[in-house]
Every structure is written in C-alpha cells, then in structure tokens.
C-alpha cells in the first residue's frame, strides 16, 4: 500500500475539524466507513481497550451517527445553546497500518466556549483510515485526552 502524503492527510484532518467546528455533524459522521468507530479511553487508563476497560466513549457507526443527530437537537440540553468550538490540528504523522487501513496520528487542542466558561481539551488522536478515491474514510478514531481528569471541564458534550 502506498501511504498518502502528510499534506493529503492534513487537508482531510482540517476538513474534519471544520465540519465539527461549524456543527455539520451529520456530515462528520459520514466520514466514517460502515465499520466506523469513535472511541475515547478513560483519563486514568489512556492505553486501555474498550472491551476491557470502561471507556468514556465507545461508539459504533450507528451510535456515532446518533451522537451527531442528538447533538443537533434542541433537546441536547448540554449543547443548547451550542458551544463555540475551535479545533487546532497539529503534529500529524502517517504510518503503515494493518490489513486495509493505514494509521494517522495527530494532536488536537479543542477550545470550547459556553455559558461564560472556556474549556480546553488537548488530545492525541489515533486514526485508522482508508483511501476512498481521491479522499479518505475513517475506520476508527480514538481520542486520547491529554487530561488527568475531567474536573476542569465537567463534561464532554462536544466532538473532539
């Protein structure tokens, strides 16, 4: 498999971040392929596996689509009125994967502002991705928070 260039991948990651920041969440969910997963390990066990340790997010494709749908509803009280969300994407690496996917690793810093409170979520994102014509699809996105706990933020009601 020929690995995509970092430039190609950066374009894709910037596009993904823009979808989240502009609340085009249904479009974001469609970046994942049919077996797509969105995962977030617990803060006390960042290297865990979701079958064994209790993750904070353990979404299959259906649940991540539903997460997007839920977040767009007025009755998603934790995001009504919506947060202002700003992703900064950096430190992008492209690596060989297994089977049909390759691996992308990047750092993100996500700022979120709501109800006069400003929260920061730094994270390392590990993707399994596939080439799909002239773009890419996500098989798995795992967000490893660079946070010891969620005490400062209180909750995680936006997409990282």
């Amino acid at each position: 498999m020929t690995l995509p260039t970092r430039h190609e991948i950066e374009d894709f990651l910037i596009y993904e971040a823009d979808l989240i920041d502009t609340w085009k969440l249904n479009e974001w969910a469609q970046l994942f392929d049919d077996k797509g997963e969105y995962q977030l390990p617990p803060t006390d066990c960042p290297n865990g596996e979701p079958e064994v340790e209790l993750f904070l997010i353990y979404d299959d494709k259906f649940r991540l689509e539903q997460r997007a749908i839920r977040q767009l509803k007025k009755a998603d009280h934790s995001e009504f009125p919506r947060s202002r969300v700003t992703h900064i994407v950096s430190n992008v690496q492209v690596r060989e994967g297994e089977d049909d996917y390759f691996i992308v690793i990047c750092n993100v810093v996500v700022h979120r502002s709501r109800l006069q409170k400003h929260d920061i979520f730094p994270a390392r994102c590990e993707y399994r991705m596939l080439r799909d014509g002239d773009t890419f699809t996500i098989r798995r996105k795992r967000v490893i928070l660079g946070l010891e706990t969620l005490r400062n933020q209180g909750k995680l009601s936006i997409i990282i």
Partner: protein, 431 residues
C-alpha cells in the same frame, strides 16, 4: 434553630401535601460549613471497593469527605485506611493514585518511612531524637477513626463514636446485597474511573440520581436513540408512572421497577442490538443467578432497575449497567464527582464488552444522558441566585398518593428529612 442558620430550611406540610426546600440550602457557605460538621463528619462515607485492593500490597489514594486517604491491603491481607499526611510536617506520603506490591511509604519531603500498617519505621538521622520518640505512636500514619466493609463496599467514618456500618446502612443493606450477588465470584470495580465535576450544589446530584420524573424530558434524546436502535419504546410510559420508591431508613431510599425500562441489561434483559448471538449466553447468566439466589431474589437481580441513594453522597444505580457514584462539595456551588462501573468478577469477555458498551450509552461525562443532567444541575444553581425573591423548591410529587410510583419524589423527601434532622442535632461537646 437549624443549627443556628437563622432561616427555615425545609417546610414539610404533610396535611396539605406540600414539601418545600429553601434554595438557601444550595447556596450558603454557612450551610456547607454546618454540613461538613454535622453530616460529613458523622455519616459513613463511601471510600472504595475491596476489589480495588484485592492483593497484598495493593493501594489506592483517594479523597473522602475532603480528606486525602490511603486505602491498602497490608502484607497480612488486612485492610488499612490511613490519613495521607506525614506526621512530621504534613506532606502527602503517597502521591500516586494507585499501585501494587507496596510494603512501605516514604514521605518525599524528609524521607520518613512508614510501613503498610502505618508504623514509622525509619527517620533519616535518628540520633537527633530522644529514645522515647514515637513511643506513643503519635508519629505513625494516623488511621481513620472508623472504617468497615459491607458486601465489598468499604466506608469510613470520622466520628469514633458512630454506630456500626450495618446499622447505619439499614434497609440499604438489601440493595447492596442485590448488587453484590450479581456475579457468582463476587463483584469488582472496573478500570476506567470517571472523574468529573459539576458547578452546582452536591445535594442536587443526590436528588437527580434517583429522579425518574425528569427522565422522559431531560433525556428525551437518549430515548430517541434507543428507540431508533431497538424499536422497543413505543409502549413505554415516559412519565415513568410505575414501579415504586422505598424509604430504606437513615435517609437512604430506592426508586425501583421490575422489567419495564426500555434499555438492555447486561445480564438478562436482551435487546435486539445485543445481537442474536448474545441471547443464549444471557439466558445462561440469568439461569445461574436464579438457581443460586432463588426465584424471588434472583428476579430482583436480573430484572430489577434500581436507583439507590445512600445518605449522604453515595449513589448505586443498577440500570443499563451498575454505576457507583460519589461526590463531595468544595464550595456550595461546586462538587467533585467520582464514578465507577461495578461488574462481576470473571465475567466472560463477550458479556463484559456488552456491559462496557451499554454503560456509556447513558452514563458518564460523555454519555448520551449524564451531560444533560450536569447541565440541568448547573441551570438550577444559576436559578438559585434568585432565592431572595423565589425561595422554595417544591418536591411534593406523589406526597398524597397511597401508592408511590417511581416518578414521585419520595426519595428526595427521605433525603431532606434526614438532612434537616442531622443539621439540627446537637452532640455532646457542642458549644
């Protein structure tokens, strides 16, 4: 009155069927000061679970009632709970959240070393101290006045004269026993602790954790999600006018129902999204429990959904998974929350996977429901700034009904009556 607070905290009018709580109870510093003294320093507070220190030498550090503690299993297999503070100059002697195979703790400041049993075993440069040094044990790590265990749940009490844990737990013993009986080999706290916070008064979370009345409204998007997934929701009464609430004594209460809630349960309530493959295994799990515990108790375990409040700040919710949740106020308008998943020891990998997926569909700071609870508590706290002109919370729901339902507010009244009683109690030695 009211421990000298000078305002009416609750108004309990049984004749009229009205129960009100003054919003000052959520906002005032003097209330929190009194709660610390009269409630948190007198009640049994949840520390942790025996499974967290299952082997000799295992330890965890944790704040309970605002005080940093070390909870460990010593070299002889005995549980120990020490205050995490060096008797020399006060630094924490243990800074890690957890660890294994530890026989001693060295204070990082001046190098005093304490055994797992808490004894001072080394002081660098001992010749500077007299021979009588620490003969009275006052320079050992200090043990908590009381700790005890019930069915694996370990509690501490900062009042040396407190009644026994089992007396204190009262009717909640039955609920803890039901949870502890799920696994044939016992239960364990899973790795993956949820450490978050809510900028609201701690009592709001105790109220919210067993409040069935809010479920259909606050969590409509959660029910939309499981409805879209399993298509089992059409006949579900989202006002939750079923089940019941029991006063378990000592301010503890449970809101419960049997086999009605539309979510899956990892033992025995199969839902389509668990997949056909899961059906057979779940039937075996249920059979084992029914055989081991008998039909009546067995059905309570496999079919029951229970939200249990253990006074003052422990929640055991046995719903789409089992969560253990405790919290403590740092300020009237801010609490720290710790929550865990409790699961059967030696659970099969497939069942554990179902449990983990099921747990976070609702629960936790990134679930489909908990963030909305956090939001509601925050909104309440903001509203209480109007307390001078809009002073009362109403929690009268179901007060005049003969048969109390799950969505009534009896569990909250049970909490508040105990809270008010303890706040007003005078103790020997009080000025």
């Amino acid at each position: 009155m009211n421990g000298g607070l000078g305002f009416e905290t609750i108004r309990d009018d049984q004749e009229e069927g009205r129960f009100r709580v003054h919003r000052g109870a959520f906002t005032r510093d003097d209330v929190l000061d009194l709660e610390r003294k009269q409630i948190f320093d007198r009640c049994w507070l949840y520390l942790g679970h025996v499974s967290e220190v299952s082997k000799k030498g295992d330890f965890i550090t944790r704040k309970v009632g605002g005080r940093p503690l070390i909870f460990l299993r010593d070299r002889n297999g005995k549980l120990q709970v020490h205050f995490n503070a060096c008797p020399h100059r006060g630094a924490l002697v243990c800074r890690e959240p957890s660890g294994r195979r530890r026989k001693s703790f060295m204070c990082p400041y001046h190098g005093w070393v304490f055994s797992d049993e808490g004894n001072l075993i080394e002081t660098p440069g001992p010749d500077a101290y007299p021979e009588t040094f620490n003969r009275d044990g006052s320079l050992n790590l200090q043990p908590v006045p009381k700790f005890d265990e019930f069915r694996g749940f370990v509690f501490v009490n900062y009042d040396a004269g407190a009644e026994s844990l089992e007396n204190y737990l009262d009717g909640a013993c039955e609920i803890l026993d039901l949870v502890a009986s799920q696994g044939a080999d016992g239960m364990e706290i899973q790795k993956g602790m949820q450490e978050y916070s809510v900028s609201a008064n701690w009592k709001l979370l105790q109220e919210n954790s067993a409040d069935a009345y809010h479920a259909g409204i606050t969590h409509s998007t959660y029910f939309d999600y499981i409805g879209a997934r399993d298509k089992l929701i059409d006949n579900f009464d989202n006002t939750l006018s079923f089940g019941g609430v029991r006063n378990l004594g000592h301010g503890h209460a449970v809101s419960e129902s049997l086999g009605v809630m539309p979510w899956g349960r990892p033992y025995a309530r199969w839902i389509p999204s668990f997949g056909e493959d899961a059906k057979a295994e779940m039937a075996v799990i249920a059979d084992e429990i029914l055989k081991r515990e008998g039909k009546t108790k067995g059905e309570m375990i496999v079919k029951g959904d229970r939200n249990t409040l253990i006074f003052p700040n422990l929640v055991i919710n046995d719903i789409m998974a089992v969560t253990v949740r405790t919290f403590y106020p740092l300020r009237p308008d801010y609490m720290e929350v710790n929550a865990w998943s409790l699961a059967p020891i030696n659970e099969s990998p497939t069942s554990r996977e179902r449990r983990n997926r099921n747990f976070v569909e609702f629960l936790g700071p990134a679930g489909f429901a908990t963030p909305d609870d956090v939001e509601m508590l925050l909104q309440c706290q903001m509203g209480y700034s109007n307390a001078d002109f809009s002073p009362w919370n109403d929690i009268s729901r179901g007060m005049t009904r003969d048969v109390v339902m799950k969505s009534d507010e009896k569990q909250m009244r049970t909490f508040w009556r105990q809270w008010d009683k303890m706040l007003k109690e005078t103790h020997v030695g009080d000025a």
